[in-house]
Symmetry: C2
Subunit: 342 residues, 2 copies
Amino acid sequence: MPARVRAVPTLDTVAAEAGVSRQTVSNALNSPHLLRAETLERVQAAIDSLGYTPNRAARNLRTKASQLIGLRLDPFVEGSASGLMDRFMHALAEACRDCGLHVLLFTAEDHTDPLDGYEALLGSRAVDAFVVTDTYRGNPAARWLSDRRVPFVAFGRPWDDSRADHPWVDVDGRAGVALAVDHVVDRGHQRVAWIGWHKDSYIGEDRRSGWVQRMHERGLATSKLSARGDDTIDFGRRAAIALLEGAAPTAFLCASDTLAMGVLQALRDKGIRTGGNPAHEVAVVGFDDSLPAQVTDLTSVRQPLEEVAVELVRLLDERMTHPMDEQRGVLLTPSLRLRSSS
Amino acid sequence: MPARVRAVPTLDTVAAEAGVSRQTVSNALNSPHLLRAETLERVQAAIDSLGYTPNRAARNLRTKASQLIGLRLDPFVEGSASGLMDRFMHALAEACRDCGLHVLLFTAEDHTDPLDGYEALLGSRAVDAFVVTDTYRGNPAARWLSDRRVPFVAFGRPWDDSRADHPWVDVDGRAGVALAVDHVVDRGHQRVAWIGWHKDSYIGEDRRSGWVQRMHERGLATSKLSARGDDTIDFGRRAAIALLEGAAPTAFLCASDTLAMGVLQALRDKGIRTGGNPAHEVAVVGFDDSLPAQVTDLTSVRQPLEEVAVELVRLLDERMTHPMDEQRGVLLTPSLRLRSSS
DNA sequence: GTGAAAGCGCTAACAA
DNA sequence: TTGTTAGCGCTTTCAC
């Protein structure tokens, strides 16, 4: 018996089946309110029985939209990543689905060129908009895209560009660290140290300011209680040792889980117990709630990536439907994931 | 001064500029060998000067191909994931780029339905093929896609379905563990324990068989040296304690980094040093080279995800260009990432 | 409320 | 080697 290859149904197929014109079927799909209830039902039945699904390419060609959001994946840096990208992509894909959008992944041929890849996708109209995530390098893509009036939304504030007027979503690192300060201070800690990144990191300084500000609000001193350096375990370890020999803090707040791992190591090496009781334990709090934090039972500030994704897509959607609206930023507050390290 | 909106160039624009027909421009792009060198040059110049890029939607409509590969992102399981997905998506996006393909992310509306999402993308011809990665659940999507003759490639062997005839790429866990056995045995360890997953896990048993087989090949015993259980830190810890009180192994090979984390904890609690010297240290080896492994300096078996991605895309490409070719599987060998835990 | 006409931008097939 | 014709499947526009 020869396999009967059923031709893929098109609008015409459905129209013939339902005894209406092609256009009516299209309307049934895109503007059902235009049809008489009875007609709609008949068309619907034909669609169902034929298993018709509109052809994306044809629709894209006609509507000049692809319903695709471009996301550039930058090179995977071994060890340095806190593994947030995984969670973020998930969240983004999910958020997109709710708007009938999809995420298209792309990579740069030349990773050192922050603009590489965008132009090709844009020129071929393969995507409608971009989500830009590389906020650590000062986001040169943002300005380029802005200048070309490409619809995009950034995950990350335009720290270094006060004239930037594109929509963005970011996580309030300062508020997250303030949360951590409150947490350990509420537990009775008074000498609360900060271990962070170099001064030239906007994000690092933002997080640090949460510590400084909230400590002062709680009437606690911060002098001689902080260190700045590379985002490495080793620096975390060394900084912790140095601080312990000096001001002897009973709590360490860190700009990253990586640094916190170093603190944990230092405490272990010195035989100091980790935990929330300031009487005989030292509390440690990280940032990002990464896999290592979960594994080592480290309290950590967790970025609300799911919310971030939803907001990004919402802004994108707004931007695509009402391009004239004023752009704005959205700042989301992280939460504290409490674990045994505090 | 009114902003002059330059119309987006099309084939016709370029053709007019170059003084040739639309088709010739198309050929210059897709079959340049058909053109006379001089014509090609002229067309090329017109393309460059106008900044022309072919419209994807139009091309897709005409060629009935989208150059898009669908990848379903399954729900992010907190803590359980070893964070490989991040690296894998990177590698896949990169491999796709080299073939002019792109990855389209999608998620299921109903996560419990392993087929959800595939049909819609397929019906609308939004993607040309799929990469299926959910091999842990026995891969029900594979059979469904196979039955519908949907082009797809699986990351993971069809363990439970000997009749499966789709192309796949997988990592040889058995060989990876054998590597780990050799490593510790070469360093002088003789009592080498295995801590793995429950017996119903194909992957777990495959990895375990690498231990059993290679141990015997090296003339070493395996009895009373293994444990099976949940993939949790806690089980790793408990299993390690139990084994230490019994056969007192000097090396632990684990089916996952998670389990290895537990072993590390147990050793630390007992005051046993970790390292490669069998005289006074216990060696620990994990599997997956996850972030926690990197952070805790744990030796681990590393899956060659970059190669996996390249092979997946190669098979996909083959399958899409010569659909009649016989399908086959590709088994790749992992490597051992040596660190201080061994 | 429904249908007919037109055309989005491209490439396959064929003619010149 | 280049040009012409036709049409992929859809939606916008406008007539009925």
